[in-house]
Amino acid sequence: MTLVPVTYKGGIHQHDIIIGLIEDLGGYIIQKHLIAQEVVLQAFVPREDIEQIARIAKPLFGEINEAPLVGTEIAIVSMSLEIHHLPHPSCDFAEYARRIGAKTNMVSPARGPGKRISAINDEERDVINEHDIAVYAFGNFEACIEHKWPAMRRGIEVPVIVMGGPEEETLRRIISPPADDYVGNVGRFMRRTKEAEEIGKLDEIVAKVARVLEKRRGEIAKDPLSVSPARLMEIIMEQVPAIHDVTSPTPLTVQMAGLRVKLPYDTFAPVLRDLGIESGVRLGDIVDVLPSRMRDYILVRIRPFSETNTVI
């Protein structure tokens, strides 16, 4: 059974039928948004059951679409959080990616701006590495991007997509070591992306992010995880009542090969390690429970089958 990420959009009326259906089919609800009279679900469902859900959703005026960004956490690396780079273009993309299911975080190096002076420190590097993918939002000048790229890239282990003002071919030529993909003509600008051409650029970025993530999913499939992150989320929701008291919009953030648990590490790391899953398997046997560099959260990295010899 292959679980695929989807979003469901429909009216609030009888939406619990869809939730029940997804759970009965062996899928998992990652996030549920209630916006006025509309409900948006982000979920993992078995690929072969999508048609069935669509059929049942039709009388409820609901629609289900595959959404490759659901269940991923993306770092938007903006060179600063000043008005020079925010809210356009960094927030524009972050918000756009959120609309189609991704969880995006804005990461900005304390000394990101500039050419010679730009640098990244160990904390910023580690925070970026906690994500599934990083999208670097650079400025308009190829001379600056070329100069600062090696410093900004140092120590980053997750796939990186570069967006910047110069043409895509120019970015490919000047960026060394290479990034995983490039989006040209999206540098620094000071107005909202609302023209069709600009929205098209955002779609292009999403498509490239999705392509890189699909590739990563393919790699994970070759050596499957010991437990699916969505399943792990459900286990924690059931067995750790404290998670229901967290006021964050996503107390548990699902990643491709792990989970960010927004509970204090010192108190809850032993609790998580001791969680019983099934047939005598404890959570600590199949995952690494690590302190996150983001506040005092917990980062759960799921070990692959080849290491644990267990799949749940």
Binding site: G114, R116, F141, E142, G165, P166, F189, M190
Partner: protein
């Protein structure tokens, strides 16, 4: 763009230059400062790196007086000022307090100020100067060019006098001969340095 006679962005990287032309235009429009410029030349070289903006400003000679934004109704022993625009209300009250004393000035609501027992005639009150837009203009221009210039360019020099504006910014200490470069940019606009 019609009010500007000359507007050029010069940059060794044509694509980057075009983006900065757009940024300059957007930021000046957002802050309602495009009409201030008669001529504007922006030079950016990311390789040095340096950012130079030189401009000739349109003349702003008007001083803001009380009569420009307030109607004065003289009554027996008092004058009632009805304020149409609050922008200069605070500096006006400050001037009134200093000149007449706070006992003689009352503000019963947001748009009304009453002066009690003042010797001046309503015409003289109307002529009191409360603001000089050209003073804040310099600060506004520095603010917008800080937004326009690339963010890492934190070593700055600004000159604003005699209707001319110069903003220079770089990452490193500015070179001693920066005046020559600024002069060249004024010459490109057809102005003597």
């Amino acid at each position: 763009m019609q009010s500007i006679e000359y507007f050029q962005v010069e940059c060794p990287e044509p694509t980057g230059g075009e983006y900065y032309r757009q940024i300059t235009n957007d930021v000046l429009l957002d802050h309602n400062l495009l009409k201030v410029f008669h001529k504007l030349h922006v030079f950016i070289d990311p390789k040095i790196p340096i950012f130079v903006a030189t401009g000739i400003l349109n003349k702003i000679t008007t001083l803001v007086r009380v009569g420009d934004f307030a109607n004065i109704n003289p009554q027996e022993g008092k004058m009632t000022l009805v304020i149409a625009n609050e922008t200069y209300l605070a500096p006006m009250l400050k001037i009134f307090w200093e000149r007449f004393g706070s006992d003689h000035v009352e503000q019963p609501d947001r748009f009304t100020v009453i002066l009690y027992d003042v010797k001046e005639s309503p015409q003289e009150i109307e002529e009191i100067v409360v603001g000089d837009p050209s003073i804040s203009l310099g600060k506004d221009l520095i603010y917008v060019f800080r937004l326009i210039a690339p963010e890492g360019f934190r070593v700055r020099q600004e000159i604003h006098n005699n209707g001319r504006f110069t903003f220079v910014a770089g990452e490193d200490t500015l070179p001693d001969d920066i005046g020559d470069l600024v002069g060249e940019k004024f010459a490109l606009m057809g102005e003597t340095p």
